[in-house]
Amino acid sequence: MERIPILKMGPVLLVSIQVDMHDQLALTLQDDLTDRIVKTHARSVLIDISSLEVVDSFIGRMLGNIAAMSRVLDAETVVVGMRPAVAITLVELGMSLSGVRTALNVERAMEMLQVASANGHAAMGEGTDDRRPD
């Protein structure tokens, strides 16, 4: 059966969507991803959609769902590499993915997560550093 691979990179799970999504594939991905988050105690999920040239409301909703599910499991979702045309389409469809963080590319997203986790550790550790992630 067709599956979307989920790669583990330290505390981050990387999902790269490179094929056309359909209902079954999306459901499988949601199952696999929630499983992996629980098993690996991942703190963040990166979804790379730079290969997607066409999106519809289904994909938009799926991204939103994945983000919501991850949040329940205390993992943060970052959608990465969205193309300009795709961004415009999603906005026109009225789906601005408000609960999801976004980044221009995977590198940026990793950087962003590192800053966030560094700030998190600092806040947890000494208690002297009162900086908070934006």
């Binding site: 959608v79 300009p84 906005v91 408000s98 976004t102 221009l104 590319n105 940026r108 934006d134």
Partner: protein, 288 residues
């Protein structure tokens, strides 16, 4: 219309071309609608001579359908003339008067030639009127088209001119909007902004609306769409240049701009952007 009747005008145009031209040009030069300030006499003479000659040639064909192939040279010359006059700043009636002013000399000539035959005069006059009216209307049509082309081109120019995306700093883009935002423009703005975000890898975009005259619900919606699209690409937006009146309008209309950072001036927005990028501006050295 039968060929032999029509050929009467053709005959006249052929035989009396010179005197007709002379009296026509005289009339044009006397007339107030000639606009001597926009066109000089030699050019006017040349245009008149050319048109009269082509008119004579076309009239020989015997048809009065000016859309037909026999009249193509006349249409071409008239079209070129109308377009150039449209650009020069003639009014439509001044342009049409060029053709219509031929009526008077032509009718005078008809009267002279057909002296006693009142019926023939009436008929030929009518024929000539119909023909010249059609040509006059044609010039107006072309004039209008020429003007419309100019308008369309200017609109495109304005569209491109008014949506520049500038790089203010490494990773900071500026988008000074000028003029009203409609959906077509929003599309252009969005596309160019997102493309620049990809090209420069910018994290922050400042949308400056100092030059946007009014903000209504539609404009606000367009702005928020642009902000949302930029966010999907991983860039944060700051809206700046909000004038006092606009701030009031926004509140009175109940528009929700709380999801976006808003600043009064571009300078404030730039300061926030620099701070976000971890940069600070310091004075180079203490003045002595």
């Amino acid at each position: 219309m039968s060929p032999e009747r029509k050929s009467r005008i053709a005959e006249l145009l052929d035989q009396h071309e010179k005197e007709l031209l002379a009296s026509w040009i005289d009339r044009q030069l006397q007339s107030v609608s000639t606009r001597r300030d926009l066109i000089d006499e030699t050019e006017l003479r040349e245009q008149s001579r050319q048109l009269l000659r082509l008119l004579g040639e076309a009239a020989v064909s015997g048809t009065d359908d000016i859309q037909g192939s026999a009249w193509e040279p006349v249409r071409e010359v008239l079209g070129a003339m109308s377009r150039s006059r449209a650009r020069l700043g003639f009014t439509p009636s001044e342009t049409a008067m060029f053709v219509l002013s031929l009526k008077e000399p032509l009718f005078t000539l008809l009267r002279q030639q057909l002296g006693s035959d009142a019926r023939a005069i009436a008929e030929e006059t009518w024929n000539a009127t119909v023909l010249l009216d059609r040509l006059g209307l044609y010039t107006t049509e072309v004039y209008q088209k020429g003007r419309e082309e100019i308008i369309v081109r200017q609109q495109q120019d304005a569209l491109e001119l008014s949506t520049p995306v500038v790089q203010l700093w490494d990773g900071i883009l500026g988008l000074p909007l000028i003029g009203t935002l409609d959906s077509a423009r929003t599309q252009v703005v969005m596309e160019s902004l997102l493309q620049r975000i990809v090209d420069t890898g910018a994290r922050i975009a400042i949308i400056d609306i100092t030059g946007v005259p009014t903000v209504d619900t539609l404009v606000a919606q367009h702005l928020l769409k642009t902000v949302a699209a930029a966010r999907l690409m991983g860039a944060d937006c700051i809206i700046s240049g909000i004038r006092p009146q606009i701030a009031q309008t926004v509140v009175h209309l109940g528009l929700d701009l709380t999801t976006v950072i808003t600043k009064a001036t571009l300078a404030d927005a730039f300061a926030v952007a620099l701070q976000r990028a971890g940069l600070a501006v310091v004075r180079a050295a203490a003045p002595r």
